[in-house]
Structures are given as C-alpha cells and as structure tokens.
Amino acid sequence: MTAPATAERPTSRWARAFRRVPWVVWVFLLVPLAVEAFWVFWPAMNSFSLSFTRWNGVGAAEPVGLGNYQDLMSDPTFQTALRNNVIWVIGFGGLSVVIGLALAVLLNRPGRGIGLYRAAIYLPMVFSLAVTGLFWRVLYSPDGLVNFSLDSLGLGALERQWLADPDVALYAVLVAAVWRQVGYIMVLYLAGLKGVDPALEEAAAMDGANRWQRFTRIVMPQLRSVNAVVFAVTVIDSLRTFDIVWAMTRGGPYNSTHLLSTYMFEQGFTLVNLGYGSAIAVVIFALAIVFIISYLVRSIRQEDAS
C-alpha cells in the first residue's frame, strides 16, 4: 500500500501545487512571457533564419544555405574583426580590471580629498560612449592635445595620426574605452573592499606577512564574489562594444578597427545585406553564449562545492 502511494504522491502533490498557484500569478508570468516571446525571441529566431538567406530588404529573401557562413570564412574584414574582438576582450578586460583594482586599493583609505579623486575617476562613466568617442577624437586629432603634449615633452618622434594609422588606431580607441570603464570597475571593487574584514589583515600583519602577501592571500580571496561580477560585466561589455568604435573610427582606416558588432552594423544597416549581417550577429551570439555558459557552469560548480 505504501509503495503505490509514494509513487503517486509526488505527481499529485505537483498537480495540487500547480492548482494552488493563484491564476493572477499565471497571468503575471504568461503575459510578460508572451510579450517577450513576440518582441524578443521571435525577432531573434528570425535573424537566425535570415542568416541562411541573401536579402536586401526588398522582395523575397533568397535562401543560400550556409553560403553566408562560407563567405565569412573567406572575408578578410571578418577575420580582422574577429582578431580585433579577441584583442579587445583581452585588452579592454585586462587593462580596465587591473587599473580599476589598483585604483580601488589605493583609494580605499580615509584621507583628505579622497572622495574628490574617486568622483573624478568615476566621472567619465557618466558620459555616454558616443560622447567619450567624440571627446577622444578631438584629443587624437593631428593638432590635438595628445600630439601637442608629445611635442612639448620633446617626444615629437612619437607623434602620429592616432586614428588614421592602422597600426595604432585600435589601441587608441581601446585607451579611450578603458579610460571610461576604469571608474566603473573601481567602484565595484571599492564596494567589495568595504566587505573585507580588516581584522584578518591585521592578524596576517602580526604574523609577518608583507603587503603583497596580505593582498594576494587575504584580500583577494575575500573579493571572489566581486571578481565574478567584474568578470561577467567585463566580458559582456567588451563583446557588445559598438558605439565608441563607431563614434571614433567607423571601423576605418580601411576596415582595420572593425569589431564584430561594427562590421555587423555596417553590413546589415549601412549596406543592407541583411542575410550577411545576420550571419555575423549569429557568430556574436554564439561567442557570447559560450562565455556566458562557461561562466554559469563555473559559478554553479563553485556553489555546489561550498
């Protein structure tokens, strides 16, 4: 008698729990789902099917199978964009995290005017990326402040057309993007450092640990949860970077600073190759999903372990 009962109980309990949920809750769940499905999932699925076609927005889309993806493989600009995206994720992520963390540690102490410094470093974050781009374009212009400063420091040999020289243009844009991101990362770490127990650090100091050891062995492990957030924010921000590159170089000079996002925009919306643009969008989506899934898997494992 007990055996069938236990076999049946979970389903009936589920069913009862199901019925016990007030119908208003169902409305609250299903209506947003319907809206989301119609306005987000459906267009997203459309771009998947578009990526297998050739379409300029007029008339019927011509199915080409994997043709767009084959073209991508042999498209030199796509390869440049892919390489630039790798440089961007590493450079943008690495630099902004290292500098942001360093600033947070430096400014995480009471002192006169410390708030002013923090505010000044966070200030660029207030501007939109497009404004940042325009601002740096002026700095980088041939007779702009960057070249002028180099000249007055006697470093005239280093002067160049920062945004017109394909060897340095991407890095020039990268500097501008990092300049803006650093304040954000700093604030995240400052918040994290507030949660670090000072007693532990004092105890370590008593045991003879030097500053570097205290930082790497005592402080960093306590920042683990902040690190996870910073990692996610940085990867997502660097994959979706678009506006600052578009504002500063539009992918030029001769397509040397395209990221996947700017190349997708140019193909999809400037040249109206909707199929080809969608194929690039699918590649971006695949890359992002790989990062996000590996991040989720890692964080779930960590939760299970702890």
Partner: protein
C-alpha cells in the same frame, strides 16, 4: 471580518488583472502605434477616398536632405505648396538604411528624395517606383529637360522613374587670392598640374587638400577622374558595372598615376573628414581641392567669392572629355494610393520657380535642371559650372551613384589602403576585385 478578508484579495486580484491587461494592451498599442505613426497620413487618405473620388489626404514627402539649409529650403517649398502635402525629414544615414523598407511598406511615403542612376534603376527593376514617363512628354514638367538628364532618369525598360531637380559639378577648387599671392595660375595640361603641385610643395604649402578619414569615399574622387581622363567615361561605367575587372592593366595605370599625386596630398588627410579638410585651405596651408561644388558652403562667407575652379586637365588625348555631375531629385513609390497628387507634387518640385527657390535658400552651388530657371542672378562660379557641364562630352555621377553603396565600400577600403601604402598595387587590386565580386554576386 470574514467578508473583508474574502473580498479584499478578490478585489485586489481584479484590480491587478485589470491593470496588467490595460498595461499590456497599452504597451502593444504603443508599439504598434509608433510603428505606424509615419504612415498615419496614408490611412487618413484611404479613409477619405471612400467618401469622395478626389483624393484629399496630404501627399507625403520623405526627405533625406537633413543639413540645415537644404532642409529649410524644402520645408519652405512644401509650406508654399498650394495642394495638401507634408514633409518628413530623416537623417541621411537612416534614410539610406530604411529606403527599401519605405518603398515596400503597405503605405509608402508618396515622394522620396534620392539619387538618379543605378540605385533608382535597381528599385525600378523591382517594380517599386512610380512610372512618371508622362511628366517627360508634351506639356509635362520635365519635358524640356536635357537628353542627358532623361537618359539618367530612365529605367532599364526605357520608362522614366526619376525627376531630377538639381545637380552639381566636381572640379579642382582653389582660392584666387592665394594663387595670386604665390604667383601661380590654373594649369592647362597634366604636366603643368604636376609641376604646379611640385612648386607649391616647395613653398611649404600642401598642394592638394583631401579628407578621407571619416569620409573615405572622398578617395574615389581622384580615382574617378583619373579613370575618366586615362580610360574614358565608357570604360569607367563598364568597370563600375562589373564588365571589367579591377585587376585590369587599365586600372593599374590609374593607380600608378594616382601614386604620383600621393606626395602632394595634405599629410593629415587620413584624419580629416571632407569638411575638416577645408580648414587648412581657408588658412592658405592647402592650395587645391578636388571636390563637389557643395564645398563652397564650408568656406567662411567672405571667402566664397574668392573661390574659383579648374577641371582636372586631360591626360590621355584620345578619350572624350568627361565631368562628374551627381544629380539629385525625387522618385515616387509605386505603392502610393494617390498617383495623381503625387505627380502634381513632383511637377511642383520640378518647376523652374521651385528649383530657383530651393537653390537660393539651400545656399549651395547647385545647378538647376530646368532650362527656364533664370541663372543670370547666380554667382560667376555657378555660371562657370554650368558652362563646364554644357561643354563636356560625357557626364558621370560619382562612384557610388554609378554603381552602388556596397561597391563604394570596397573602393573605400582599397583606395585608403592604397593611399597609405602604394607599394603593392597588384595586391591591392586583387583584394579589391575579390571584394567587388562578392558585391556583384549578391
């Protein structure tokens, strides 16, 4: 007690349900409404159509001329239109991206500003443009326009689908006062031109201004002209149509000639836009600028009368003379539900008075397409421009207008790459051809 506990959740549920239903329907309606907003006038029009045979809704003009002066000029014209019309101005980049959407939508804007030539022809081949051939015959508004304009406004099947209203010329612009100061004069031959460049460079002046930074298409100006001067307009058109390859020895010869000019360009040209490149010229740091006549608006007002131009000197004596003259105007959507009103508006915009008003208010050095426009009041520079185009044997437009924006992107890449490092011309041309083939295959 019991009753209150029972009713209150019910009433709250009811309230929330009502609120959420209202909220979502409002959201949906809001989204739909914002999508349809630009076409509202069209729906009104169909509504009135049912009650009277005379279509009385406003005719819409979708306008891409978003620069302040041309925009004001068109708004004035639409304001003065005796019939019922309204104007909707869209920034040009967005306009370009959405043009096909406008034309294919169920309620398209009736009249749209755009370019004559291959772009219009492509849309006509899709059946998206209104046939305006009757405007080009008998008493029609465009009947007396030149044959070159008629040819330019014709679809592949020979019908006319475009109403050109103004055009401008490309040439090498310079400042008369600066040339006087340097004791030089406009060159007659290609050798003279190169010698003049060398002379100016020796004086510490950048002989040639250009801005290929955020406007890399400017690099095509010299490409077009060198191709016209070396291989002729016929070859140029065929090349852009995909009938020749960019790896041809003819194109290689063009780039080799182009290489001679590279030392004479402003060394900062890769950082400038075409507007910014004017500044060194205003300050007499650059001398000459191959550009369209629209450049006059970027000079300070007191320098505009000082401007003069000369045509790119002939290189190959065996090819007919040719100039670039991009033509702007209007086409209409074949999906319009008021073809008569649409053509009336087109005829109004094409009339001599409207063209004169547009050119005066927009402040550029554009030329009218209507032969009856009184040009005697126009500046000597414009008179000279009219003379130039009247005396040339062949007229082309510009790289993108003679081909497509997609092919322009391949030229931007190849030519800016070439200007930065001209050492590997065959390699650059191979890359260009490969990119162009991808465009032609699309």
């Amino acid at each position: 007690m019991n009753t209150t506990t029972r009713t209150s959740p019910v009433s709250r549920r009811g309230f929330l349900l009502g609120a959420s239903a209202l909220g979502t329907s409002g959201l949906l309606a809001g989204c739909l409404g914002s999508e349809e907003a630009p076409e509202e006038s069209g729906t009104e029009q169909t509504g009135t159509d049912e009650t009277s045979s005379e279509p009385s809704g406003p005719v819409t003009l979708q306008n891409s001329q978003s620069d302040p002066a041309p925009r004001e000029a068109l708004e004035t014209l639409i304001g003065d239109y005796p019939g019922d019309a309204e104007i909707n101005t869209v920034a040009i980049e967005q306009f370009r991206a959405q043009l096909s959407t406008y034309l294919t939508s169920a309620n398209p804007p009736d009249v749209l500003t755009w370019y004559a030539g291959s772009v219009a022809r492509d849309y006509a081949a899709e059946g998206l443009l209104l046939d305006v051939s009757d405007m080009w015959e008998g008493e029609g508004a465009c009947a007396n326009f030149s044959d070159a304009l008629r040819e330019l406004s014709s679809a592949e099947d020979g019908s006319q689908i475009f109403v050109p209203t103004n055009y401008y010329w490309w040439s090498i612009f310079y400042k008369k006062s600066a040339f006087e100061e340097w004791g030089v004069s406009a060159p007659e031959t290609w050798e003279d031109f190169l010698a003049l460049c060398e002379d100016l460079k020796g004086r510490g002046v950048n002989p040639l201004a250009n801005g290929i930074g955020s406007t890399p298409w400017m690099a095509s100006g010299w490409f077009d002209y060198l191709n016209l001067r070396i291989n002729g307009a016929q070859y140029h058109r065929e090349l852009l149509a995909g009938e020749h390859a960019f790896t041809d020895p003819e194109v290689e010869a063009v780039l080799e000639e182009y290489t001679k000019l590279i030392p004479y360009f402003d060394p900062d040209m890769a950082s400038y836009s075409y507007q910014e490149a004017v500044t060194p010229m205003v300050q007499n740091e650059s001398a000459m600028y191959l550009i369209g006549a629209f450049v006059t608006q970027f000079f300070p007002e007191d320098q505009r009368d000082d401007l003069d131009f000369f045509s790119v000197p002939p290189i190959n004596p065996d090819v007919p003379s040719a100039e670039e003259a991009p033509t702007d105007g209007y086409f209409a959507a074949s999906g319009t539900d008021n073809p008569e009103g649409t053509k009336e508006l087109l005829a109004y915009l094409a009339s001599a008075e409207s063209q004169q008003t547009f050119i005066e208010i927009s402040g550029s050095s554009n030329l009218p397409t209507h032969p009856d426009v009184d040009t005697s009041g126009f500046s000597p520079l414009v008179q000279k421009g009219i003379e130039l185009l009247n005396s040339t044997e062949e007229i082309t437009q510009f790289f993108n207008r003679d081909s497509s924006d997609a092919l322009q992107a391949t030229a931007d890449d190849a030519l800016t790459r070439f200007l930065a490092d001209p050492s590997d011309i065959p390699g650059i041309l191979e890359g260009w051809q490969a990119a162009a083939e991808r465009v032609w295959d699309q």
